[in-house]
């Protein structure tokens, strides 16, 4: 185990990515994600022995397509952006999922719509989880809630992307990105050889030619192509559900939250229990696939879904619970995060 350091979320995450063997970063600076490209730009010069390559792209459109090209060669690559940049990357997200490209994208949420603000928000759940691009595809979406978890999931994202040949979105928010916290940065990881990555473009020496292509050739071929993709998404859905459930056994009220909001809810849960209110919590870590299983068979309890949005994840919760009338929503818009005390007041309304 390494030493504990006090580090900003974005920077700790960038260091973890480098240690996961992601030596290629393509990005367009946008608040609150800019510390990630800045970290890579500095590392490229300060650590020449690690062969780090940072390219500041002209747009997020280009950055995402650069990542697509880079990962097609079997090397690990990523970009990091905020909501407005993720919008521009959606075309490439659809493409990369269809083309089986193991890209990793960090999205640091800030409040929209439009240009918006640079504070914390969770209003990009739909665009990350439901796939804002065209066609039937899914991103594997992971939502950490601490700087430590950001670092660990950052590293795992590359492995998952390669395992399933699909883009992985690490969905954070301005609070997690800007927050400093004590963290043990995970160690350097063993890397697969580019030639060992499925369908990687390494030159056809000694093998059949590989191609990255998503162009249809008639309805029959295209349906087959789509069904193969659906089989991929099904494999992910069956194997990669992640969540954390706490104090569920005796709970009358179950909080549901992810990311920095889950962090607040956990404190609210403790405060409630100190006052004798039996509160539990489900924290989805994989947002797609959504942890439906965490809600199965739970009856006679109330769910309070708390988000920094007008109500996005709550739709998935309603699909997952036995009785959607058990679900209450509390959301905050504009960039302020409700404190544990504010969440506690909401809990008390349900008692």
């Amino acid at each position: 185990m390494g030493e504990k350091v006090f580090m900003q979320g974005n920077q700790a995450m960038a260091e973890s990515a480098i240690r996961a063997g992601c030596k290629l970063f393509f990005g367009y600076p946008i608040t609150p994600s800019s510390e990630v490209p800045e970290y890579y730009a500095k590392a490229m010069k300060d650590r020449p022995e690690e062969n780090i390559m940072f390219v500041q792209a002209e747009t997020e459109v280009a950055a995402f397509n650069m990542v697509a090209g880079a990962v097609s060669t079997g090397h690990r690559a990523m970009t990091a952006t905020a909501g407005p940049g993720f919008d521009l990357g959606q075309e490439a997200m659809s493409f990369m999922s269809a083309a089986d490209l193991p890209a990793v994208v960090v999205e640091v949420q800030r409040p929209g719509p439009g240009d918006g603000e640079i504070l914390a928000a969770q209003g990009d759940y739909f665009s990350a989880v439901k796939g804002g691009g065209h066609g039937d595809y899914n991103n594997l979406v992971l939502a950490p809630y601490s700087v430590q978890e950001m670092c660990e999931l950052m590293q795992e994202s590359f492995e998952l992307a390669e395992k399933y040949c699909n883009p992985v979105v690490l969905l954070t928010d301005a609070t997690l990105a800007k927050m400093r916290e004590s963290v043990v940065i995970p160690d350097y990881k063993e890397l697969p050889k580019p030639e060992d990555i499925t369908n990687s473009l390494t030159g056809k020496k000694g093998r059949e030619a590989h191609k990255v292509a998503t162009c249809g050739d008639g309805a029959v071929q295209w349906e087959e192509f789509n069904l193969r993709l659906q089989a991929k998404y099904k494999r992910i859905a069956e194997n990669e559900v992640r969540y954390e459930a706490k104090n569920m056994d005796d709970a009358d009220i179950i909080l549901v939250a992810y990311g920095s909001m889950a962090r607040v809810c956990e404190s609210a849960m403790k405060m409630a229990r100190e006052e004798g209110i039996k509160v539990g919590m489900i924290r989805p870590i994989s947002l797609w696939p959504f942890p439906d299983v965490a809600f199965e068979g739970i009856t006679g309890k109330k769910f309070l879904v708390v988000e920094l949005s007008a109500g996005q994840m709550v739709q998935d919760v309603k699909l997952a619970v036995e009785n959607k009338r058990d679900v209450t929503f509390f959301g905050k818009l504009g960039g302020t995060t409700p404190s544990p005390k504010v969440v506690l007041e909401q809990i008390k309304k349900l008692v």
Partner: protein
């Protein structure tokens, strides 16, 4: 143990640096620490505020009520005084703040002229370090020696400034 702190001022007053140094010391003391900065849109002269949570376990990085609130300018007082805990301590830099606070009587309000003390210490720029010393006294959970160690570390690149800052820190602690 769980302590929630909020420091707020104007960019350049060193409020964020103060918060970070306190966090370093608290981590070394073995606590879980979170530090969330909030910046204004403007790069200089804008307002800077931070939430600090020092605790045994994992907690919300967003505070409910400040056990200790440090205010370095008028507008910060107006905006954040509602977040001070009824049993909390509100520390106002009276060298910089001219408006009156409006908090429940149970709040322990301390008005301290940090800038004047800094001048006395020998450098007007050390007002934030004086404040750090003052907070160290109110937060015995984080040993003063550790805070001193990290104040020294933060001036490692400018060793000439260490003595005056240590003096400012001690003067704040003795207030």
């Amino acid at each position: 143990m769980k302590k929630e702190l909020l420091f707020s001022g104007i960019g350049g007053q060193g409020v964020i640096t103060l918060g970070e140094t306190l966090c370093d010391a608290a981590i070394k003391a073995g606590y879980n620490v979170t530090f969330v900065p909030f910046y204004g849109q403007e790069k200089r002269g804008g307002r800077t505020m931070c939430n600090i949570v020092i605790s045994d376990g994992i907690e919300s990085p967003i505070i409910s009520e400040a056990d200790i609130m440090l205010i370095f300018d008028d507008r910060s007082l107006g905006d954040y005084q509602g977040l001070v805990s009824p049993n909390g301590k509100l520390i106002i830099n009276s060298s910089m703040v001219s408006v009156e606070e409006n908090v429940p009587d149970t709040v322990d309000v301390r008005k301290v002229p940090f800038n004047d003390v800094a001048v006395e210490a020998g450098n007007p720029k050390t007002a934030n370090v004086v404040a750090m010393g003052y907070i160290a006294k109110l937060l015995p959970e984080v040993p003063f020696e550790l805070i001193q160690e990290f104040v020294e570390k933060s001036f490692a690149a400018k060793p000439k400034l260490i003595p005056v800052n240590i003096k400012a820190l001690s003067m704040g602690y003795e207030l």
